[in-house]
């Protein structure tokens, strides 16, 4: 039995590590579930499209198009691409979107109807000031 002792010790250490690992992920699972239930806003990421951000934050997409000075047409580019194409940083894009989102939600009045497609976006009210 003494020959197997080191093995047993190593296995016990491994067992403890696996239990700790499992516990850690169990706690994170619960915290995710709480987060999900509370329906908190997700951080904006590079891969998201304007459509997804609008969908996730429950604001009309045209508000976000206006915020980024994009024409009011469906735009399926991910935000990272929009940032590159327009020479802006992701932080700038995120800030503009967040500003528009906050101002499209209560206590602010609901945003107006979307502008007609192909109309140049006027320097509109939803466009954030610097």
């Amino acid at each position: 039995m003494t020959r197997t002792r080191p093995w047993r010790k190593a296995l016990i250490a491994l067992f403890v590590a696996v239990v700790a690992f499992t516990g850690y992920h169990a706690v994170r699972t619960v915290s995710d579930a709480i987060y999900w239930n509370a329906h908190r806003d997700e951080p904006i990421e590079r891969w998201m499209t304007i459509g997804y951000v609008a969908h996730s934050y429950h604001v009309p997409p045209h508000v976000l198009h206006q915020a980024l000075n994009l024409p009011p047409m469906p735009d399926r580019r991910p935000l990272g691409r929009i940032a590159r194409d327009s020479g802006r940083s992701m932080t700038q894009i995120e800030a503009k979107l967040m500003y528009a989102i906050v101002h499209a939600r209560p206590p602010y009045p609901p945003p107006g109807p979307p502008p007609r497609p192909f109309m140049r976006p006027a320097s509109s009210t939803a466009s954030p000031a610097k």
């Binding site: 067992f15 696996v18 239990v19 499992t22 990421e45 590079r46 998201m48 997804y52 990272g80």
Partner: protein, 201 residues
């Protein structure tokens, strides 16, 4: 890298999904559950259709799994044979193979969708132990289609909280893998302790 990959997926859609699933199934560390849930969300927003997503994703994953299997069978097996010829232990390998044949079926099926992180490993060990290919592919197709259906449907149902759902499922998967590992280790450690070793530990 995750960011760029997800950007490519949002830009190119189904062909990118197919390619990403091949690489993920072959063992590249891609956030494949986030990808599938995001795809489900795009389905909910009307940008993609449900069945083409399932088809492109599952076929990519199945192709990737065959790569892992082939690697184990045609790359790993000769290597293993060479090693056992030199240092012995062929009987141990045979024992492991018999064990693997007995349990591999369950492993293949469940590592497609319930314990996904083990998938790429099980592909290689299945090839390595010459698990019958026809049975491998039947279990593989069943498991991968189930995986796609579950994850894309969840993404579609909870389409506004993609990252939270992906994180939750990711953590839950690791809990299941962890419980499985702890159960196996615990059984090995304490299940035999009645045979006389000390319980004090």
């Amino acid at each position: 890298m995750t960011d760029q990959l997800l950007e490519l997926l949002t830009t190119y859609g189904l062909p990118a999904l197919f390619g990403a699933m091949i690489l993920a199934a072959a063992g590249m560390p891609f956030p494949s559950s986030l990808i599938l849930i995001a795809m489900g969300s795009f389905v909910a927003q009307g940008e993609l259709s449900f069945w083409p997503v399932i088809f492109a994703g599952a076929s990519g994953a199945i192709v990737g799994d065959q790569l892992g299997y082939a690697f184990g069978r045609y790359g790993g097996r000769p290597l293993l044979a060479a090693v056992t010829r030199r240092i012995g232990g062929a009987d141990k390998v045979e024992q492991a193979e018999a064990y693997s044949r007995k349990w591999a079926g369950w492993g293949i099926f469940f590592s497609r969708w319930l314990i996904g992180p083990l998938g790429p490993w099980i592909n290689v060990t299945s090839g390595l132990t010459e698990y019958p290919w026809v049975r491998f592919i039947v279990l593989d197709v069943a498991g991968e289609v189930l995986w796609l259906l579950i994850y894309v449907s969840l993404g579609r149902a909870f389409s506004d909280q993609v990252q939270t759902i992906a994180s939750l499922l990711g953590n839950l998967t690791w809990v299941i893998v962890g419980l499985l590992g702890a159960g196996l280790l615990g059984w090995k450690l304490f299940g035999r302790s009645t045979e006389g070793s000390d319980d004090a530990a």
